[in-house]
Symmetry: C2
Subunit: 240 residues, 2 copies
């Protein structure tokens, strides 16, 4: 059995807050638990926010804005290394981490105040590792941590949460070479474990409730892989 | 809290098997539970399998096979209404249901025997509704049902399970017009609930264990939407 529990009672987070302390106070962790934390919570405590008033939009940002606030598009361009698709004001791009997502992960909702944008962490794996280490110090428990963000998908409506940062967990379950019950090699079967865990946690975290952390128990996924392993390598990507 | 429990002890399924009876015997259902069933289990009991020996490949199938078995590609072509990307022997296509996925959902692993291919159900929502109704008859419980399949994603490695059929559940959680804690309208936020539920269930079902059913408890998702609502409408799809 797997259980997923929201960690409630964490107040609105601010730059410099000690998230590990907040979680350790409010959750009874066990070894092997996976702590899923919303990217926005991590970004806020790491100060990855931009005030729109401080942004001067370029001509390109104005073109892409399609009548919306060009300063937001300017920030998206600055967070992107490559544009994949654009239909103003919609931008799908590749971030410097390699993630392909809408708006380069730049988000206006749940910002600390109106007029602010929240960016992805600079190194979400490192963010996950800091929380993992902080939880080990405070609780003595060996847990995994996933930093989750809501991504849209090609061809499908709606977002699902996926892992943008990971520490102490396997992110892919590779069944290459294993055989199913009739002996057929499951050569195409690699499961995006960490993305499924992030999506599962999202089911209890919600968007509006402001619950930024959930604990998933009953998995057996301890390991050490980077969330960047979830990015399709360029040579295998049919949709670049 | 959400819990996810695998329904164990279901033998290899065959055409005509009464899946509702098997599940009712092995799970203590409660109202509001969501029963997630692997697409392959549904397809097998519905007889949606093809014997490779009965398939005569076309020239186009040979081209797309890239040296692999062209009969498999022929079946994929027959299940497709539009090819989205091809790199022999890899085909991403749109199925007659509207789903965009690898191999039109045609799968060789976990087939009843070697030399067989398993196709998607003809109408996966109807399959879900039959199981939902069968469970209600046998248990008196009002549950939701999701038929799940493992889909690859653009730009990301690994598959996640998504909903290809649904009955008795909402599949999308639309937060349009709701406001977050600083009053910013979450206008881009539609959550693909049923896909996240399918992915969460996959975490206990595995691939090799042959566990085709899981029960997700603690959600509040009763409703009536089609899994086809998870398909991005053509006019909004940047990746057709």
């Amino acid at each position: 059995m797997i259980s997923i529990v929201a960690v409630e009672g964490i107040q609105e987070l601010e730059e410099g807050d000690d998230l590990a302390a907040f979680v350790a106070e409010r959750a009874e962790l066990e070894d092997g638990d996976v702590v899923v934390v919303a990217q926005k919570a991590v970004s806020k405590i790491e100060g990855r926010v931009v005030r729109l008033d401080d942004v001067v939009p370029s001509e390109r940002a104005r073109e892409l804005a399609g009548g919306t606030d060009p300063r937001r598009l300017e920030v998206i361009l600055q967070e992107s290394v490559r544009l994949v698709r654009t239909r103003p004001p919609l931008v799908i791009s590749e971030t410097r981490h390699g993630f392909v997502c809408a708006s380069a992960g730049v988000d206006q909702s749940n910002a600390p105040e109106a007029g602010m944008l929240v960016l992805l962490p600079v190194d979400p794996d490192a963010s996950a590792a800091r929380l993992r280490d902080g939880l080990r110090e405070r609780t003595g428990r060996f847990v995994g941590v996933i930093v989750a963000d809501s991504f849209g998908r090609a061809w499908r409506q709606g977002t699902t949460d996926v892992a943008v940062g990971a520490a102490g967990v396997r992110v892919l379950l590779d069944l290459h070479g294993e055989r199913d019950r009739v002996g057929y090699e499951l050569h195409a079967t690699v499961i995006a474990l960490a993305d499924e865990i992030a999506g599962a946690a999202q089911l209890v975290m919600g968007k509006l409730d402001g619950v930024p952390v959930a604990v998933v128990r009953g998995l057996d996924v301890a390991g050490e892989e980077s969330a960047r392993d979830l990015v399709m390598p360029a040579d295998r990507d049919l949709f670049r």
